[in-house]
Amino acid sequence: MSKSPIIEVHNLTVLYGRKPALWNIDFELPEKKVIGIMGPNGSGKSTLLKSIMGVVSPTSGFTKVYDQELDDVRYKVSYVPQRQDIDWDFPASVWEIVAMGRYQKRGLFKKLTSEDKDIITDSLEKVNMLGFAKRQISQLSGGQQQRVFLARAIAQQGDLFLMDEPFAGVDIATEEMIIALLKDMKDAGKTLVIVHHDLHTAQSYFDHLVLLNTRLIASGPTNEVFTDKILTDTYGGRLTTISKISQELENKEFPIRHK
């Protein structure tokens, strides 16, 4: 694989206040794979995804997508935020939410074309939600909400998908549907980066794993990094050295970097 990586994360540090959420993360991800980002609660998984998407700005370091600044290749990247972060009691229909996926192409002002509407219809069909197009989003179950978010990402027609916990709190039917969809997408040459927390399914779902616990524990093909030693490093012992240092930084107002 002499090609350049699809995502490059270089010495990335993100602080919330003074507390590091990510500390000196450095890795590269290969193309056309299903990639899992795993780690315990509060290990910075979502923050990593948000940094790559430019939603959170790094304190130091940088991320690159397709070897370019994100802004130059944003149209190739589809983001699926965490379903639970959102208040679903919002006055909008399923169709309107999926239509947001087309706003990137059309901008804030241009009307959606019939081509856009075809794409929205297709996307809804792919996640078996076409029958729900006119439904209010407040009436959806957790699994249906997740399907809507997936459809919205598909409607963006990107090549790289960043998904934050798409399997959290969904029913088995939805989980199986998503897995089948991911496989199809991978076969179609897409790259899928997925924040996930269930260790049991990790091996069967992912080709490549990134294991995080504020710092990077490992990044590599699943069969190489899914070892007892690495998993213990990632999940074992809540009070790691890193968390002790983080607490000091926060409580005593030390800077992590001198400017």
Partner: protein, 429 residues
């Protein structure tokens, strides 16, 4: 209140010029506030409206101290600047400190308001003859509205409508999910700042008419009511604007119908009546709509229960039974049973002839359906809930009415088309 109709007549005849101007001005102002306030509401920033309206006070006072004249233009500029400053402080402190949002809002509001009151008091004691009337910012003075104000309110209303129509997509995006909007590459700082500017300008201009305390209600109440009427943002905007406009006019007309009745508070009272009515009578989300739904569910439950009992008493619908047989078995009182029977007859489920009940074909099918759902659910419970056979009946009594045809199909498939329930009774397909 007695001569309210007379006042309405006067209003429409445009004989009373002052009343006309004040009512129109208030209506337009409340319309403008309702429209822009819809997004304040959707972004769950209802309290920010309170913060802004209280925070314009020091700006007004400082504008007067610097210029020494009572010019609306200077007041509005001062109000806008200090309103914007308050929003900026709220956002900045929220990003940089560990304080909770409600603490930050409460603190910002009281600090700005406190400073404003101190400055106003200082001005009042300064002996400047022009100062009288500055306290109208506290409680509002809609009655002093002139045609100039109406023009100003109209301009703001038009600007709000145009900007919101233009930026509907952007404002909706940041209201639903800021992070996603940012991920799409939109400049959400600009969108947020622009929306904040529209809100602050509207508040700054409205405060003089209704006062700092009531201005926040003009932003939030129309949207809160409108939310119960619709699930679409454009419709919500229209309802909120309409509620605002009507409340403004009605509030003024009511306040003019009695001596010494305050205008601002009446507007807010009318607005609250609109909102309350929507909350109660909203077609889908309203309180009564939900009560009605519960009631129709009860009717369905009663009908199905009685139908089922008739079927069983009549030995699977083969025999004819009398009403007294049925009443003996039912937990309902006689009157209620008769009511239910009449409903069933109306639905062609049964016929009643001289105290006898005869099941129709349709009734037989209906009863079998209820029994089938009941037994399917019993099997499901014993299989998937690990419940003993004698524990499944009560639960199934309730759920048999809830199962939809789709769920029934799903259950039959899941349970692999079972023949008998856990009590070895046959399942009627």
């Amino acid at each position: 209140m007695i001569n309210i109709w007379e006042h309405i007549a006067t209003f429409f005849s445009v004989e009373n010029y002052t009343l006309f101007v004040v009512a129109l001005g208030s209506g337009i102002l409340c319309f403008a506030a309702g429209v822009v306030g819809t997004f304040t509401y959707l972004r769950k920033r209802a309290l920010i409206g309170d913060v802004i309206s209280h925070s314009v006070l020091p700006g007004v006072a400082i504008a007067f101290m610097l210029t020494g004249v009572k010019s609306p233009v200077y007041f509005i500029i001062g109000a806008i600047l200090s309103g914007l400053l308050s929003i900026w402080i709220v956002d900045y402190v929220q990003a940089k400190s560990k304080l909770k949002p409600d603490t930050i809002l409460a603190l910002t509001l009281s600090v700005f308001f406190g400073v404003g009151i101190v400055l106003l008091t200082k001005i009042q004691h300064s002996g400047n003859a022009a100062q009288s009337g500055l306290d109208s910012f506290l409680f509002g003075k809609a009655a002093s509205m002139g045609i100039w104000d109406v023009q100003l309110f109209s301009i703001i209303a038009i600007i709000n409508v145009i900007c919101i129509a233009l930026f509907l997509r952007g404002f909706s995006l940041i209201s639903f999910d800021e992070n996603y909007a940012k991920g799409l590459g939109f400049n959400i700082s600009f969108l947020k700042a622009f929306l904040a500017l529209l809100t602050v300008v509207t508040v700054a201009i409205g405060v003089q008419a209704v006062g700092v305390v009531l201005m926040a209600a003009l932003l939030i109440t129309p949207a809160a009511g409108a939310r119960f009427l619709t699930n679409s943002i454009p419709k919500m905007l229209s309802f909120a604007g309409l509620f605002g406009f009507l409340s403004g006019i009605i509030g003024v007309v009511i306040s003019y119908s009695g001596t010494g009745m305050p205008t601002g508070p009446w507007i807010v009272v009318v607005l609250s009546i609109f909102a309350l009515t929507s909350i109660l009578f909203g077609k889908k989300r309203g309180v009564f709509a939900r009560m009605k739904l519960r009631k129709s569910n009860n009717v369905k439950i009663n009908n199905e229960n009685v139908l089922k009992d008739i079927y069983k008493l009549a030995e699977d619908g083969t025999k004819t039974i009398s009403i007294s047989d049925l009443v003996e078995k039912e937990k309902y009182p006689l009157n209620k049973v008769k009511g239910i029977l009449n409903r069933l007859e109306k639905d062609d489920m049964i016929d009643q002839i001289r105290g006898l009940i005869i099941l129709s074909d349709q009734g037989r099918i209906g009863a079998r359906e209820v029994i089938r759902k009941h037994r399917l659910w019993e099997i499901y419970l014993s299989k998937y809930f690990q419940l003993d056979v004698d524990h499944v009946h009560d639960d199934a009594e309730g759920i048999e009415h809830v199962i939809t045809p789709e769920i029934e199909k799903h259950l039959i498939k899941l349970l692999e088309h079972p023949e008998t329930d856990p009590h070895q009774s046959k399942i009627p397909y």
